[in-house]
């Protein structure tokens, strides 16, 4: 697990989790998570529902007490602090706007230590920040989904938290609004320099927002890295599948050899892929993870038949049947739309360095 690594040159981590564990009943919802987060970083916890990401976020916010482990913020142990004493704020998935208060009342809620004038000025600034000038007197239930999301953001930023926690920040928005909001959120973060921890089940959201992503499964962080690294170099078939469409071709690992690639024997012939971690013994059962867009159709390589061709606007998706009946998915540029129609006998190949060998 590479969870405790911090990007080089970042000094003392802003947030450090050590062995954080939370049990509900018999099972562990979060199981010994280690994590370090730098200043000015956007970190995304990615995983399906039930993987423990929300529980982890709630422990950082202080709504749940870990059964074991420590949570440090800027070096100080905050594990036992109640939520209202933590310099951390959260944007809730439902936004949790107080229905009995105005927009300004919501945004001002965390600013009770300020005087009246200072508070009003701060609310004004925050509403301008989220482009909601003039909305202060409105009630939350008169706002659109996007506007509510921005009120929730302004409210969470009001106390200038050292760390902002965002629970599925965009899931409640429709698709067009979501992409726009993602860019805005990222721009805002760069401007403010606040660190974000974002919880999401949507890999695209993680890719758009995050500097680094921690993939969670079964209460553990199974891989941490930049999204490109996770995409190209997943540590497991679970991570490979979570971050996008992938062909997982079962096979047997060939003998050790020098050089950057290794052979894998599959049901439809020998393949070459990037050499795996040395822990995998020759002869081990493995899968070759091959992204559809890396499959090259041409004159050389393995024989296959095109069984399906779908035009998707910006690209063409094809299903290919290999000699033994295995099917692979390939996607290519839409410019060659007329090429390789259904029924065409073709040959396919791929560069060894774009395919990963993973434990089966």
């Amino acid at each position: 697990m590479s969870g405790s690594q911090v990007p080089a040159g970042s000094g003392v981590p802003l947030l450090r989790l050590e062995g954080v564990t939370k049990r509900f009943g018999a099972g562990a919802a979060v199981d010994g998570v280690d994590l370090a987060l730098a200043e000015n970083e956007v970190f995304c916890l990615l995983g399906p529902s039930g993987c423990g990401k929300s529980t982890l976020l709630r422990m950082i916010a202080g709504f749940e007490r870990p059964d074991a482990g420590t949570i440090r913020l800027g070096g100080a142990d905050i594990t036992a602090d109640p939520p209202h004493r933590r310099p951390v704020n959260m944007m809730f998935q439902s936004y949790a706007l107080f229905p009995h208060m105005s927009v300004a009342g919501n945004v001002a809620y965390g600013l009770s230590s300020l005087g009246r004038a200072a508070r009003a000025a701060r609310v004004e600034t925050l509403l301008r920040l989220v482009r909601l000038e003039g909305y202060g007197a409105r009630r939350p239930d008169t706002l659109s989904g996007g506007q509510r999301q921005r009120v929730a953001l302004a409210r969470a930023l009001a106390r200038e938290p050292r760390l902002l926690l965002l629970d599925e920040p965009l899931t409640a928005l429709d698709r067009a609004l979501r992409e726009e909001t993602q860019s805005e959120l990222r721009a805002l973060q760069r401007r403010l320099g606040t660190s974000f921890v974002v919880v999401t089940h949507d890999p695209e959201e993680a890719m758009r927002l995050a500097d680094r992503v921690g993939v969670m499964a079964g209460g553990r962080i199974v891989q941490v890295g930049a999204t490109a690294e996770l995409y190209e170099n997943p540590a497991s078939r679970y991570v490979a599948g979570l971050l996008g469409d992938v062909n997982l071709i079962p096979g047997t690992l060939g003998p050790a050899e020098p050089g950057p690639s290794r052979a894998v024997e599959t049901a439809f012939g020998a393949l070459r892929a990037r050499a795996p971690a040395p822990a995998l013994e020759p002869g081990a059962a493995v899968v070759v993870a091959l992204r559809p867009e890396r499959v090259e159709l041409g004159a050389h390589g393995l024989a296959a038949t095109v069984t399906e061709r779908i035009f998707l606007g910006d690209r063409i998706a094809r299903t290919l049947r290999m000699g033994d009946g295995t099917t692979l998915r390939a996607s290519g540029p839409a410019t060659g739309a007329a090429e390789h129609p259904v029924g065409a006998e073709i040959r396919l190949g791929f560069a060894a360095e774009v395919a990963a060998i993973l434990p089966a």
């Binding site: 709504f63 749940e64 007490r65 939520p83």
Partner: protein
């Protein structure tokens, strides 16, 4: 917050006042009632013996205990009046519960199927009579059911009957009163169950070829059955001990435990016997009350 549970001093401070109050004024009185039901009536104030001498020694206690007996319960057992009152209370409450289930189910179903915009208003219309002056609502029926009352006037004018029907001061009047007074009590929990049923289930049944009657009988009714049973139970308990309805509508011959208790207490001033009747009534309703409490507990635990 969710992990805090109910153990802190703050939580204790919240639940202590209602616990103490209800123990003192609901639980303790039952114990006293039980004790007095074992005493004998006396022409004194309070009108029962023995009265525990608080300053007495152990001797005072033992003579106090010796003076307690089951005489009142023997009276209840051997005097047919009380046995009949108990049986007829059960019969009235049981019959009324069945009629309520029969009338309340379609009404609750109609409420649940009413247009969403009108539903809140319609439910409020059903609720209002429930909270509205029980005594007044029962009183209103006297004028309707009397021999020269409005119902008979209407029936005579329509030629349905040749001479006024004797309804007031009969078991029928008691049943009408029970059903009328408790109908909202029946409909509300039933409506709550029926409005929670997924409309897609009815639509699926209709889509598969079931007519409205078959949809109701094969989908809605089985799913709402626990609600119907709960509603009937909810009405049964207070009806068994009902006083106002048999007293005002049933006439002097109506035997129901609530009325018997009342007259033992107010007319005969036999507090110990009234207490024994109360204990008997309590024994009849305790089972349903526990069931009801557990249903409430489940409701509390829904979150």
């Amino acid at each position: 917050m969710s992990g805090r549970g109910g153990q802190g001093w703050r939580a204790r401070l919240v639940r202590l006042p209602p616990l103490l109050w209800l123990s003192a004024f609901f639980l303790v009185p039952f114990a006293i009632t039980l004790k007095i039901s074992l005493s004998d009536a006396a022409t004194a104030m309070p009108p029962y013996l023995p009265v525990l001498d608080w300053h007495g020694s152990l001797e005072g206690w033992s003579s106090f205990l010796e003076a307690l007996d089951f005489e009142n319960y023997a009276v209840l057992w051997f005097d047919s009046l009380y046995r009949e009152a108990a049986l007829s209370s059960l019969a009235y409450a049981g019959t009324a519960s069945a009629v309520l289930a029969l009338l309340g189910t379609p009404l609750a179903y109609a409420l649940a199927r009413a247009p969403a915009r009108a539903q809140a208003l319609l439910v409020a219309l059903v609720v209002v009579p429930f909270w509205t002056s029980f005594l007044v609502r029962v009183y209103a029926w006297i004028a309707i059911l009397k021999p020269e009352g409005l119902l008979n006037a209407a029936l005579l004018r329509l030629g349905v009957v040749g001479q006024p029907l004797e309804i007031l001061n009969t078991p029928a009047a008691v049943l009408i009163g029970l059903v009328y007074a408790y109908l909202p009590f029946m409909v509300l929990p039933l409506y709550a169950v029926m409005s929670r049923l997924d409309p897609a289930l009815r639509e699926a049944a209709a889509d598969l070829g079931a007519g409205p009657v078959r949809v109701f009988l094969t989908v809605t009714l089985p799913l709402a059955a626990p609600g119907i049973a709960a509603g009937a139970l909810l009405c049964f308990i207070p009806m068994v001990g009902e006083f106002v309805i048999p007293d005002l509508l049933g006439g002097s011959d109506t035997l129901m435990l609530g009325r018997v208790l009342w007259s033992e207490f107010f007319s005969n001033r036999d507090w110990p016997l009234a207490s024994a009747v109360a204990v008997l009534l309590l024994l009849i309703v305790i089972g349903p009350v526990v069931l009801f409490r557990d249903a409430g507990e489940r409701g509390e635990g829904e979150r």
